[in-house]
Amino acid sequence: MGSVFRPAANFWASLALLLLAVAFVASSLIVWLWPHSDYARRANWAPSQPVPFSHRHHVTGLGIDCRYCHTAVEVSSNAGMPPTYTCMTCHSQIWTKAAVLEPVRNSLKNDQPLVWRRVTDVPDFVYFNHSIHIAKGVGCSSCHGDVANMALTYKAKSLTMQFCLDCHRDPGPRLRPKNKIFDTSWTRDETTPAPELLLAEYGVPQRNLTDCSICHR
């Protein structure tokens, strides 16, 4: 009676075992790292919107301040999405026949709000407050990126918990002078006051910024 396995079977059996081990490690890594990837976090991705609104045109081109539309950002946890009435403040008079603005006109006519798709979101168990970040010298672009130069609005940062903690552990270098908070193309340069000076000026408490209950309540 001849042998069941030929000598080469040893090689194939070892290779199969090795591949199994590699597959196990790779799949574990994917499961572990996938949720933190930019793709899974929808970073650098502009969802389609009812109207292709361009921040670059309105902010950089026309010089409209962030707060003209996002009126609540300094006083509320929510920055505030502008109602159709705000759009129509100008568009009742200019671009009145533009097809691209048809949903805006219908929204005002039918008293039905435009349904924008959310670009930047944090999980529901995170309590983010815009007003305190503005008041303590964190600019829009620290989380939203250079919105003033976005033709279509996209999520610029991953907004993982690691992203939040990077700043909460060491806020100083991310703070900026008061008059630069709404300047989304601002970057720290040699004229910027030192981080320690800004921390003192804004009175940022460094004792409890990484407490769980600062963000999770």
Binding site: C90, Q93, F125
Partner: protein, 161 residues
């Protein structure tokens, strides 16, 4: 054995959600809001008929708010040649016409709240206290355009670089 597999499978299902979408079970409802209106709350279109005390802080607040909400059309100079007007919006009157120089300050406060002509109401964007601040800044603008050298007595009078 089957039961054990079923339990493990059910537990594994729990990993499908990372709890990112977890709205509050008891959401805010106006019905359970404060029964009595807090003391300093005013109605949406209300304009305080008397001006707050005129301070530098008020004018500076007015300048900041003016640059956010008014300059798109009225321009930083207040001459009605803002960027939106340059792009085709009907031109608002300059603040330096006779009619507006003589208008009471309350007039500006009311226009911010209720709108005027093609200008929409800014009641939802500019709260009542800020309307007075902006009106105070408009008054300062008007004064700046008709000021004489004597008005600057006591102030720093250096030539602009």
């Amino acid at each position: 054995m089957t039961r054990l597999v079923a339990v493990v499978a059910l537990c594994a299902l729990g990993a499908c959600s990372d709890m990112s979408d977890q709205p509050k079970q008891r959401t805010y409802s106006p019905l359970v809001g404060p029964a009595q209106t807090p003391p300093d709350v005013v109605s949406f279109l209300y304009s305080e008929p008397t001006a707050p005390p005129l301070t530098l802080a008020l004018i500076e607040r007015g300048q900041q708010r003016f640059r956010i909400f008014c300059t798109p059309c009225h321009s930083e100079l207040g001459n009605g040649q803002g960027m939106i007007v340059q792009r085709g919006f009907p031109e608002p009157p300059s603040y330096y016409v006779e009619r507006l120089l003589k208008a009471p300050t309350l007039y500006f406060v009311d226009v911010i709240a209720k709108g005027h002509g093609t200008m929409y109401s800014y009641a939802s964007r500019v709260p009542p206290a800020d309307r007075w601040a902006i009106a105070a800044y408009i008054r300062a603008l008007q004064k700046s355009q008709n000021a004489s050298a004597e008005d600057l007595a006591g102030a720093k009078t250096e030539a602009a670089p």
